[in-house]
Subunit: 250 residues, 2 copies
Amino acid sequence: MKYKKLADNIIEFIRNYYKENNLKGVVIGISGGKDSGVVAGLFVKALGAENVLGVWMPCHSKDEDKRNAKLVSEHFGFELKEFDLTNMYENYVKQIKDNYEVDDEVLVDANINVKPRMRTATLYYHAAMMSKIKKGGYIVAGTSNKCEIYVGYFTKGGDNVADIQVLADLTVEEVIGVGKAIGVPKVVVNKIPDDGLSGLSDEEKLGVKYDDIAKVINGEKVAQNVKEKIKKLHKNNAHKFKTPTFKKIA
Amino acid sequence: MKYKKLADNIIEFIRNYYKENNLKGVVIGISGGKDSGVVAGLFVKALGAENVLGVWMPCHSKDEDKRNAKLVSEHFGFELKEFDLTNMYENYVKQIKDNYEVDDEVLVDANINVKPRMRTATLYYHAAMMSKIKKGGYIVAGTSNKCEIYVGYFTKGGDNVADIQVLADLTVEEVIGVGKAIGVPKVVVNKIPDDGLSGLSDEEKLGVKYDDIAKVINGEKVAQNVKEKIKKLHKNNAHKFKTPTFKKIA
């Protein structure tokens, strides 16, 4: 009941924003994971499936993720387009290697983060194109949740860039609750979150558990060393939220 | 004298930020225009030319811009790498056209905005790579000025994404003043600003003059219709600064 109410509030928030700003549709990157599945379900309920475009953007992606992306689109009845980023990514890295004589090892971080940036550029490309085709404003929905945002677990200029955020104030537990309340397929809502890029689960990459992040956010009791680790992640990622800017002295 | 002092304050700001955060170098997209020329000059003075990497990222760009980019790098003595985005861009648009049967007309806005997003992704790619090669943190410097930012004249997820902003509180007049004070080549500092993409000057695209934007920012007198136009641009671009976000009711 609690999560049904929360889902209804989000749906109302979406509808109000679209009405106030005279918008038409939404573009959502569908990864096969729970966050994008829940966001897609909420927007279908708010705007109708005909105004939701999902984009599946594989780049050395797993078949399982593709199946889950399709499952979400079929379940909620919205269109899912595939835009394959593999060639673009491969050509990009090749051009870098041709320009600089560098080992793969030097490019590990660069390669992980360029993918979400290409995906965001692609979502905005689709939004601009759809706005022209449908003669009404399409915007890009973000899929980050509160726990990820708190520890800065996103790529700056990548998956944190969006025109509307509906999960950004929800912990992972709340995202799952809302997902179940609106009927996101179980295999998607129960999926262990990973970035589909590094081969590790998100919690393995972060070295902390989402439940513990939620506890720190909510001021609940957590083991001291875990709390310190989470606070440190939060602090170290502050630059992702507010760009240091020179100000004239008045 | 006033601008010499302002330049010194910015240089001090950069040095302090680098010291506090134990950073090493900077990556700057060099367009051949005044903003990136001034930013490059300030960072060379703050960090030394050996810690500044400029990247010239042509994409159907003008020879004149390339000459000016080179001129800035030679003048200040920092390394300038070329990363050509033309193929990537062409392949991207081709893939879109293959996937969707759309006319060029439908893609005009999408095509203009995808370029700055590819550039930003490329600057961050270089920063991650350089951090590994040089074994010290490289960050991306933004080049937007206060007037552009006020009217939202930038691409969300593109040129507004940076790790440090040094011109964001300076009007175009102040950027020119600082540029002259630090000796940016005259042909660059006096260049009429354009995006190098649309074939129009920035002021033609915007339909307002930078001087008038500065006056509105500073609360000085401007013709009523001009003021309204500028205020409207500012208001319509508010979504670029703060993403509308659903908040739980406490």
